[in-house]
């Protein structure tokens, strides 16, 4: 059992509050991702779970042990955690084998067991033939797998990953994502993963916790977060989205400045912000939800990335690739909106920038 319970954890460095009132529960064998922009406090949370930072207030439990509380602190070495660092932190003065064997040797396991376990884990990360190399002879991806093997060798119940993929090139990052996920399933361990990359978060996690400025914004499965973002920050950070000012009156939503309207039957009324994901808009052959003029389009192979003028305002639409040949810039188009979100207008200004 290695669930994690975090109760009202806060952390400040002097005057700066890095994390405030963080509460969450991670289930055993769950893959949880802490997602947020840099400086949001996600790494600090991870380092508190590891024991490298002490919370200013709050309680952290791992399994059935309290590791952080006002009167309790268990140092990192006693927490039985595996961790992969962003910079890998593979020791340059030891061979791959020695690096991976280190946690076992610290636990004074006998030579036979050490050899066997190290060989096994090196096999899992496909590094068997590199056991006697020194780290400087390995590529970044290989060093990263050494770090992963070292984190896994002592069979921890909990694995912490601190942006482990951010220093890899795009292709390698793709394949490592699936490898890490595979290994997690095979070993059945709990994983806490920190990243600012929403694709990593979406593809790997059972649950995502979106953090901004030290405050949890939303917790949920990747699809919940994506389809039902609770606020504009989450909607904007996870995926692409168009924000427009709008007003709601009697079941009708009017996009400010365009006069165009959409049906709406929800709890919001008055001045709101509407969020429309570019991929939730389809080209229609006749009059539908919205109409506009095709301002520009870019053929990307798998999609047609368009900007459409819906009456003085540009909306980004990611359409079927086949539409590229059908329409030309300046053409009038009809659009069907398959899904949209409505937020209270809280003065979140990010939608005023050009959507990329």
């Amino acid at each position: 059992m290695a669930g994690i319970i975090i109760e009202n954890v806060s952390k400040s460095f002097g005057e700066t509050v890095v994390l405030s009132d963080f509460s969450s529960e991670f289930k055993d064998r769950e893959f949880v991702t802490l997602l947020g922009p840099s400086g949001c406090g996600k790494t600090t949370m991870l380092r508190m779970i590891a024991g490298f930072e002490k919370p200013t207030a709050g309680i952290i439990r791992i399994g059935n042990r309290t590791v952080n509380a006002p009167d309790t602190f268990i140092p990192p070495e006693k927490r039985d955690i595996g961790m992969v660092f962003q910079s890998y932190a593979v020791w340059p003065h030891m061979t791959v084998f020695e690096n991976v064997a280190y946690p076992l040797r610290i636990k004074r396991q006998d030579k036979q067991t050490v050899r066997q376990k190290v060989e096994q884990v090196l096999d899992t990360v496909h590094l068997s033939q590199y056991a006697q190399r020194i780290p400087s002879q390995l590529s970044g991806g290989q060093q990263q797998r050494v770090a992963l093997a070292r984190a896994l060798v002592a069979e921890p119940q909990l694995l912490l990953l601190d942006e482990p993929l951010s220093n890899l090139d795009a292709k390698l990052r793709d394949s490592m994502r699936f490898e890490i996920k595979e290994i997690q399933k095979k070993l059945g361990i709990t994983v806490v993963f920190v990243t600012h990359d929403q694709i990593e978060a979406m593809t790997m996690s059972d649950r995502v916790i979106v953090i901004n400025r030290g405050v949890i914004q939303q917790m949920g499965t990747p699809s919940e977060i994506y389809r039902h973002p609770v606020n504009q920050f989450v909607a904007d950070f996870v995926g692409k989205i168009n924000f427009f000012d709008a007003t709601i009156e009697e079941g009708l939503l009017t996009i400010t400045g365009t006069g165009q309207q959409l049906d709406y039957h929800g709890p919001h009324t008055g001045n709101v912000v509407i969020g429309i994901r570019p991929e939730n808009v389809r080209f229609a052959s006749r009059q539908s939800d919205l109409r506009g003029k095709l301002a520009s389009q870019f053929y990307l192979g798998d999609v047609n990335d368009c900007r459409i003028d819906i009456g003085g305002i540009l909306m980004r639409v990611i359409a079927e690739p086949s539409t590229y040949a059908k329409y030309q810039e300046g053409d009038e188009v009809f659009l069907r909106v398959e899904d949209f979100s409505v937020f209270d207008d809280v003065g979140f200004d990010d939608h005023r920038r050009i959507l990329t």
Binding site: M83, F85, W91, H93, Y102, I106, A151, A154
Partner: protein, 568 residues
Amino acid sequence: MRSTPTPTLNIDRRTFDPKWLIIGLIVVFLVIFQVLPLFYLVIKAFFPNGHLSLSAFKRVYTYPMNWSALKYTVITATATMFLGILFAFPLAWLIGRTNLIGSKFFRTLFVTTYMVPPFVGAMAWMRLLNPSVGTLNILIMKLFNLSKAPFDIYTMGGLVWVLTGFYFPYAFITISRAMEKMDPSLEEASRISGATPLQTLAKVTMPMMLPSIVAAGLLVFVTAGSCYGIPSIIGVPGQIHTVTTRIIDFVYIGSQEGLTDATTLAVFLMLIANIVLYVSTFPLAKKQFITVSGKSTRPNMVDLGRWRIPISLIVSIFALIVVIIPFFTVASTSFTVNLGKPLTEAGNLTLRYWERIFTRKAIISSARNSLLSASAAATFGMIITCMMAYLLVRTKAKGRKIPDFLITVGSGTPSVVIALALIMTMSGKFVINIYNTLTIMIIAYMIKYMLMGMRTVVSALTQISPSLEEAAQISGAGWFRSLRDVTLRLIAPSVVAGWFLIFMPCFYELTMSTLLYSNNTKTLGYELYTYQTYHSQQTASALATAILVMVILVNWLLHKLTKGKFSV
């Protein structure tokens, strides 16, 4: 396109390239004043009368006093090295990696010691641990009711102690820097693997630091072995002669034979220094693991727990004994009329020595000489190093590494050797005669201390991305304009820092000045030394205190200027 050299300098390889002129001029300067004199020194040792003869060697190295000097030098330098590392490594670790109380203060304190003239330590410890009148000796005798003084500074042990107190900061700085460069997650990875802080120290931190520790040790070995100020004040009264004091004695004899004997001994020092320089530049440097951290995390401070207060106390006591008490002793000596009596006794407090150092003509003229030669050395040194640093970092000019190499060798050569080589070649024997002038002093200072400026400017330039200059050029600024508007502005604080780093050690230089001075070109270091040895310890102490205050002020200024990057 990062590595693209500045285009304007690179236009046409067939036409004349100003880079080569600069490199050429610097190389010619260094060859004439450094390489050839040192070569001449070696040749002269083996060919004293124009043909190969080892008779000088035989005579010098069979003479018991020389043999013992050699032995003492090696023993004291080795002992200082081990003791220095024994102090420096734990201190570097405690100050850099743990929650030691007052670690910032201790760092500043030890780093400041690096800039203090070493003979100040000798002066202080002589007063403290003189076997008959040493203040500390008398205090301990009273405290424990002893009939005999517990310590005698005029011994090998005393010499090693004083050398260590003033050379361990060299090791401290080297090791601290290496520790700062180490990615803290390397240590965290060990903790999370189940190792305690102590296990982590032993299995990860120490092995990774080992090359730097060895390099630091060798540095201490060479500087202690080629030190003149401390052994001449502490060693000579106790009949402990070292190679440096013997060399200077031989030169003072003045005869041709004396000079030959000095040369022969100097070759030994040079050999050791060169071997050490070679070892720490090549095999060791390669082993220094540089790990680039993905993001800059603050190093995780090891919590000393219940040991925090006791350990902080021990470090405080160490700092008190090694740095504060000696400084205080020198300062208080400068106010004391009768050194045999306590300062607090009626009528024993005076300002007359302070008045003397600001009024006596000889002192003022020496101070002027020092100011002049140190400023000249620093200014010319910075002009050379700035050009060299630029060519080294920003261009791919052929031969740009030669001056860098020569400057490194010059700085690694013991002061005594440099001075001796200059005396032998620059006194009219080979066209140039600058003996007995300030020029010879300035050149010697430059050879010995230019590296300090070079390092500072090179590291500042390396941190400035070439794209900043390129951005200025693309905006229409010419090569010179972009250099002036962008590069020079950005490295200006480091250039000033580099200037002071050359200026300070030259200002109170003793060893080379002792050999190169003439009646008209006495320097402050030499003046201080003669006052200490022959005339008035109080006057010497007043001078030393004034220098000390100056060092602290300059250090503070550098700290402000470079925002803490260079305060050494």
